[in-house]
Subunit: 367 residues, 4 copies
């Protein structure tokens, strides 16, 4: 399978099942000399962990990361960094009754068909719990990006039909839904309350932007920045789409409307006046902020009973056990994960970029 | 850079510039024993080539593929397959005047910044001409997929605001816009005529579906089918987004609306009753047809004069030379390329799947 | 760096420093359905661990492996398998005095130059301790190979000038030096006693053979079986060479002496009468047993004082601290590691081979 | 299969059969801004081509390389470089009679068993002709290495039992056997004359050394410089072993004999006084020249009749057709190929090294 790794030079491999003893990640390729604080990793994990608000799964995980290798006196040595997170609140008993049921919208059907075996406890490897390992690795990637002046901002753009209109970056971290528009978030919470009452779930959209990227990240043809970001985001559980800049809306635009025109900035460097493209040209960062949106489907696990089949292909009714712990809207907890995945792609692009040309002469485009 | 290759086991590497002597592709990993007809490759290239209709670039390329290796008496031997396509109508003279201009929405800015050098003739490597090599490789991938009973169908779903309503697969190949809705295509052509008259361009959306996929293609976590398809499609010039099944619309749905329920089919096998997910569960094909859409921005090269900078950062006006050959809507010619990229991803998934488990026992889910 | 992973489809990533809390390995790509026993892994680790005999380092490690993921009820699920081994007897105090010394023949010089930082405690990542993780992964690979009827046998071929003459496979596991020639091993132990008395160390050669391999493992050109085995073995600490079959001696042979001639075996299948080549033809297994030898240099850490420089480039004398724990001959403990690395290469080749051709028809060469 | 590519960041993919219309290579990842002269590539190809001396195969190939992409006005652009070499003297008629014979020591047996199909004409993909593509790519790699002050020198060290005693680098290029010891080469030629008269072939050893390498090339654990060089060399047709520095002889040495001691050089930098290790420590270049040797078996194609089987498993006698073109000692023509492969490994290591650490501060070890 060999499908649990992501990245070229900044490469992560994640491991661990939802209800196993622990999950974790090995980061291979992080440059030496980078200061890493365990607190930063813990802080990012805290954002993602369930049970923070009434709007996420009540599973309780303290999610304390342990760094088992790769650091010497708080600094990376170039050796692989292994981060382990214990599973604490893995209550498999509730899953016993699901063992023989096909769960609509859930991977147990395809895993069973593909592998002939499935660790049904808590969704096993297919559980969103795996994304905690991505967030831990993303925190390291973000530390590397900070050295290059890059900051990332993910937030809830939409839940159901309710869309954030204003983007206040300061609001994000204090908003229980990571929503940059306080008023919209109030409406969203009202919707989520209804959804929960109905025993149902709802979809959502996460948006990500950044500080202005250095020009030149990403590689032509198959390693375009968008290509790798798209792979990163569509590898997330429940994600169903991605778009950059004007995205699907650009299908309705004319070239004269969509083209970002060139100008010089205050330092006299060539720059772009607008950002319809979302931060890239030809797959390479153009000096504008990154701008992308990821669509998440409604979580498949809902309290409402659903008709289904058991693994002997007999009709049955799926009713999740009392007290099952599921998210009404997975997009909320996906916010720090989207940020982490973007960080991983950019960290890789930064490292890839260091071997691009033999001279370090500046182009005439820049001072 | 090493960014000109795509795929794991069925791996392609493309080479060649728009205005060099030739372009081509090496396919590494195609299994032995597959019959390949040069005519099939030629037929697919014909679909993509410019100049077929008034709605695509008037560049004239006969695009005759030559297979230089990997076949013995018409059958693959397991050796790399090299397909070369001569460039015939590469008229660089028209590009001379563009040499020192930044072209809005075009990669020459980022290539220059990244590499310090740019082959400006016809867009060099950043030209859509590179996609001819993908189509040639895709034809080989499609031959492999046929052995596994998989057929793919790409078509124009939308141009500007005009959307195909009916999907008539028989219409596609005979429709000048690859549109499966004849009536919608008439409106689209009218729009394209206007766009051309204005010296402008327009965006569009390509949709792809397939025959029912075998269950089990795609690998968990980072090699999900959607992840690799997303990478494939976002590696295409001018693509700005991708979505699967209900896609971005699923953000507005409830779980009870979006979940595809299980049932048994006529053969008594477990199957799904609907396809909101677009053909996968947990990143693995579920037995439903694939369903995805790719958004393409309007082409950046337009006849209308545009304010810009030259490479010395002086303000100037970009006017494309008389007789410049550009597409009013790149989505049209992207149709066979989207199909080729999907074929490459699926061929890889088929090969990856052969090493998944040690037994070949059937699951109880299937007869 | 991203250099801590090995293999294509059966892929391992190791992590951990000699004197960190633990070391371990993630195996990504092991097929589902394979029974894995923790005892088997523990048994292989026991072979490699120091302190088993007077002829290896006295460091005491119980080396109990813990499997943290990838197994469900003792069977692989296709998910990554994480095996963790605690470091117990990591006594860093002895290394404090070495911190500022360049150690002749040791990697601390090149690591410091390359990374600007070095975890000097016990050799950090450059320590042979990393090979315990390889052995754990190799035990899983051997379980997979067993399903394909492949068994491997590594043993000491030579220490100093003393060479094993007879190859008695039954002797290996009970011999304190893993030597298949009991008499030669007595001489070797005498030599090792002398070496230790002198405060010196000595080189050696490990040989590996196997049951008859299935025909067809390994891929042409750059993924030849020998190429990957050579990479595997030269990635081992202290290894300085590898040869296959007649190896360097074949430089002195004529084609008529070296060519292995064809014949039919008792089942009437085409086979080879001899094995000068060491088990492959054109990089692909020929149905003969694998035969290779790996040369190991004498360990660089010796009790004898050695002139050197400190990290301020001042001349000094390196004297290892009293009670330093080093191997007089690293080849001995390398025996199970060589076997593990061969298992990893072959497991990968077995998986790679499953996607080679589209038909499963037998060649006329075999019944 | 996907086995026709080599390298990570400086990555080549070769294609083409011995008796197809052409062979070639795509280089993906060569940095932009490098001047490449077609004459240099042609010069290296001339060294490798057959028919230069009475001691190599009489096949006549002009081996004129054509660069079809990746250069703009003689300078690399970062785009893939495609080099094509026409096959001119591919006389397949002579191979018709071999079509149904198993050739002792030859890959047609394993290819047939693995793929069920074999392009028997001239050995197809298994032919040493593939190495011409490696030499072309190696010439580009050498141009990149020159920018980093690295020069490589390969030469014949041994043919049969005759060994070069003196190493005169100036002798190599003018010696018909690429032998650095003029007197030894006279003896070798006498031996080759005898071998040819007998209708037999003979093995040999190629040695490679270099200018002092920059410190820090190569990556720990699985991407050690020796590991990748070993893979590179054992991927060569007919190679049976590799050793570094003292190599297999180091198995007989003591640590006090083998350890290279540190000293300061004339510039006051830390350096090594000897080079038993062959240029690396812990897999990373130590500032010494590289030193390695590759053993080549005697070519399997000999004029002498040999008993064998046909593909129907009937006993037969293999007699090569009159005028068959084979090398009496493949090691001779392997000399430029060994140099090319070393160049490819080092070019990759140079690029990999650029993303190793975040600071560029010098270690205290160097001024």
């Amino acid at each position: 399978m060999a499908s649990n790794a992501f990245g070229n030079l900044f490469r992560i491999t994640t491991w661990g099942e939802s209800h196993g003893p622990a999950i974790g990640v090995v980061i291979d390729g992080c440059p030496a000399g980078l200061k890493i604080s365990i607190d930063e990793i813990a802080k990012d994990l805290f954002q993602r962990r369930p049970g923070n608000t009434p709007y996420t799964s009540p599973r309780k995980e303290s999610d304390v990361p342990k760094i088992l290798s790769g650091l010497f006196e708080g600094v990376t040595t170039g050796a692989p960094i292994m981060i382990l997170i214990q599973n604490e609140d893995a209550d498999s008993s509730k899953y016993a009754m699901l063992q023989n049921q096909l769960r609509p919208g859930h991977a147990n059907f395809t895993y069973l068909a593909k592998y002939g075996i499935f660790d049904h406890r808590g969704g096993g490897r297919a559980s969103a719990r795996e994304t905690a390992a991505r967030v831990a690795a993303g925190a390291v990637a973000k530390a590397l990006l900070r050295e290059h002046g890059i900051a990332l901002y993910a937030y809830i753009k939409q839940i159901g039909h309710i869309r954030a209109k204003s983007i206040n970056l300061n609001e994000i971290k204090q908003n229980p839904l990571f929503c940059p528009d306080h008023d919209a978030s109030l409406e969203m919470m009202q919707l989520l309350d209804e959804i929960k009452k109905e025993g149902d779930s709802i979809g959502g959209i996460v948006e990500l932007t950044s500080s202005s990227l250095p020009i030149g990240l990403g590689d032509p043809i198959y390693e375009k920045l968008e290509a790798n970001l798209a792979k990163a985001m569509l590898s997330l559980p429940a994600s169903k789409g991605i778009e950059f800049g004007d995205g699907f809306f650009s299908a309705t635009l004319r070239g004269s409307e969509h083209n970002d025109l060139f100008d010089t900035d205050e330092q006299g460097n060539a720059t772009l006046q607008s950002n319809h493209a979302g931060g890239t040209l030809g797959g390479i960062s153009s000096g504008q902020p990154l701008l992308l949106r990821v669509a998440f489907k409604p979580p498949s696990s809902i309290a409402k009973p659903q008709p289904t089949l058991n693994i002997h292909k007999e009709k049955s009714i799926l009713t999740l056990p009392e007290g099952s712990r599921h998210d009404p809207c997975v997009a909320i907890r996906a916010v720090p994960v989207v940020e982490a995945m973007a960080a991983l792609v950019l960290a890789d692009a930064v490292l890839m970029n260091s071997s691009t040309k033999i001279t370090s002469e500046k182009s005439s485009l820049f001072n």
